[in-house]
Amino acid sequence: MAYDKFTVVKSTAVPLPIENIDTDQIIPARFLKATKREGFGDNLFRDWRYNNDNTPKQDFVLNNPIYSGKILVGGTNFGSGSSREHAAWAIYDYGFRAVVSSFFADIFKGNAINIGILPVQVTPAFLEKIFTAIEADPKAEIEIDLPAQTITIVASDESESFDINGYKKHNLLNGFDDIDYLQAMKEEILTFAEAKAV
């Protein structure tokens, strides 16, 4: 599935200072019944966002118009649990392009990059600074610069660098995905499979 290239995202951010946000919260299983990748953003954080009668829960951050933006900031161990890529689809479909946390669960991190969301892992101290900055001013902007691999709280100019491997960075900057890469090495795969005689 093609996605938009990622270079620099400068945006306000939505804070969710909760630890261990698992993929069952990001998108509950009962919303996984689609056979197409459409409309998942409507059910992002469904049970935190809506009451049983489908009215919005007023105290949940996505229902608070003060907060908006392309960056979601979550507590540590973001995305644990199920491998459902639907969690990443829901985040993307809602309009986020980056998720910031001090720690990500493995499968979520891989799924996010594969569909064009940048997971930005910062130190716990910097994560606190971001939460504090947004708390002080919900319109505080965060800048994520993928080419430079930096994340900056714009108002205070505090900044930190983050890791990403060169291959994945190249993919995100160009909107490529792994399937393009694998298709280009089909012969090599066939030779390997034959030698293995599977």
């Binding site: 698992d22 509950p28 049970d47 890529e85 694998l182």
Partner: protein, 465 residues
């Protein structure tokens, strides 16, 4: 440098190493189910790609299948649509498909091993995090996302950086009523839900050496709940005799050849791991969880910890206990239980039903409990009947449902109602996992059985002679 079991299997499957990037990693066996595959097939279609090795992919319907009246059309149109998509995609690309009604149908991680598809030394993936189950055979097995399902279908490869290695040793003799589920809940409580993120785990020590294949699968299954990509156990005679004679396992000369290779799959004596933990079997008692992640577990006779005794996350802890309706320092024993669920790819195998029946035998289901007893596959269901377990269950007032994931993730009608408490042998106690507002207490089949006959959280040791 001396190699670990994990190194041996991983390195044998790397086709290309990308500098400053992942390995191009060859996959031997690919399982698909109805929920995470439809979009992958759409992707194939929109790119005009084919399935490269259809014989290496196996499809089974499990996540949103009903567990009663499976002979009738599936009522929920969305579920029916997904099941239909799995069937037609499999037919279109020549993938073997075990749909509803097929005698081989069942939960993907139960049917793979019991049909001899899962073998030592293999790389196995599925769009489902509990694929780690298959590591019990000394395979590298892990869950993948739908984009990766599309990769495996189209190229039999995925791109993965090699994880770090961890070894978890548990030595000694297990206490009374301590099952493999308790061992894994204990380990996760020690390491926390993120304690093994970035690692691939090898389980070693006499506790695992003495464990049945069913038990090893339970342990490897839960590896993901401490963040690990997967877990594995070196194959041995227990493994080989489990596999021998299974329908799709190698036979004759191929068996001998495979066996010779499988016997080499061991961690060398002086190999080192990036991280290593050692636990004493004597410290483990029957476990139960009290919170909203699988790391929030404790010995069943203990009291819920105080927030101030935790390493951090006090705010989240309070939120979690409020969701569960529990307080710090409360005992779990004696808490009222509304539902009992035995099943799932964690504890839906024959041994689990034997354990459940051992406690239920000669007792009656508690009136306040609704029990869902769900075999992991039709093969397990048949064993339950053959071994007379069904008679024990029926006598005690229980009924047996048909195979599927069921209340493990509540995508079908098997949903625990909001606010109700369920003692569940599944793997996740996240908020709403078993239905919106449901409250899950993860435990072993013995603890589940004790709750089912007493109606409250009960120490199973009290019901055993």
């Amino acid at each position: 440098m001396a190699n670990t079991l994990f190194d041996k299997v991983w390195d044998a499957h790397v086709i290309r190493k990308i500098e400053d990037g992942p390995d191009v990693f060859f996959i031997d066996r690919h399982f698909i189910h109805e929920v995470t595959s439809p979009v992958a097939f759409l992707g194939l279609e929109s790119r005009g790609l084919k399935v490269m090795f259809p014989k290496n992919t196996f499809a089974t319907a499990d996540h949103n299948t009903p567990t009663i009246n499976q002979h009738l059309p599936v009522a929920d149109p969305l579920s029916a649509n997904q099941l239909q998509a799995l069937e037609s995609n499999s037919a279109k690309y020549g993938i073997s498909h075990w749909g509803l009604g097929n005698p081989k149908n069942g939960i993907v991680h139960v049917v793979g091993p019991e049909n001899g598809i899962t073998l030592p030394g293999m790389t196995i993936v599925c769009g489902d995090s509990h694929t780690s189950t298959h590591g019990a055979f000394g395979a590298i097995a892990f869950g993948i996302g739908t984009s990766e399902v599309e990769m495996v279908l189209s190229s039999q490869c995925i791109m993965q950086p090699k994880p770090q290695s961890m070894r978890i040793n548990v030595n000694g003799k297990l206490n009374k009523a301590v099952t493999p589920k308790d061992v894994t809940l204990y380990i996760i409580a020690q390491l926390t839900t993120a304690g093994a993120t970035g690692y691939f785990v090898e389980y070693a020590g006499d506790v695992f050496e003495n464990m049945s294949m069913e038990g090893r699968m339970t342990v490897c299954n839960m590896s993901i709940e401490m963040g690990a990509r997967g877990g594995m156990i070196a194959p041995d005679e227990t493994t080989f005799s489990y596999i021998k004679g299974r329908e799709l396992a190698p036979k004759g000369e191929a068996w001998e050849k495979s066996l010779a290779y499988w016997k080499t799959l061991k961690t060398e004596a002086n190999a080192t791991f990036d991280k290593e933990y050692t636990f004493d079997a004597a410290d483990i008692e029957p476990m139960i969880t009290y919170g909203t992640n699988p790391g929030m577990g404790m010995g069943i006779s203990k009291h819920i910890p105080k927030a101030t005794d935790l390493k951090g996350g006090v705010a989240t802890y309070a939120k979690s206990l409020a969701y569960m309706g529990f307080e710090e320092e409360e005992a779990m024993i004696g808490k009222k239980v509304d539902y009992v669920f035995i099943g799932s790819c964690t504890n839906g195998r024959i041994e689990d039903f034997r354990a459940f029946a051992s406690i239920v035998k000669g007792r009656k289901k508690a009136d306040n409990v609704t029990a869902w007893i769900v075999p992991g596959s039709h093969i397990v269901e048949a064993q339950i009947k053959e071994e007379g377990i069904l008679d024990i269950l029926t006598e005690a007032g229980f009924t047996l449902r048909q195979p599927g994931c069921s209340a493990c993730l509540a995508m079908n009608d098997d949903k625990i109602p909001a606010g109700k408490y369920a003692v569940s042998t599944s793997n996740r106690n996240f908020e709403g996992r078993q239905g919106p507002g449901s409250r899950t207490l993860l435990a072993s089949p013995l603890v589940a059985a004790a709750a089912a006959v007493t109606g409250v959280v009960t120490d199973p040791r009290e019901l055993m002679n």
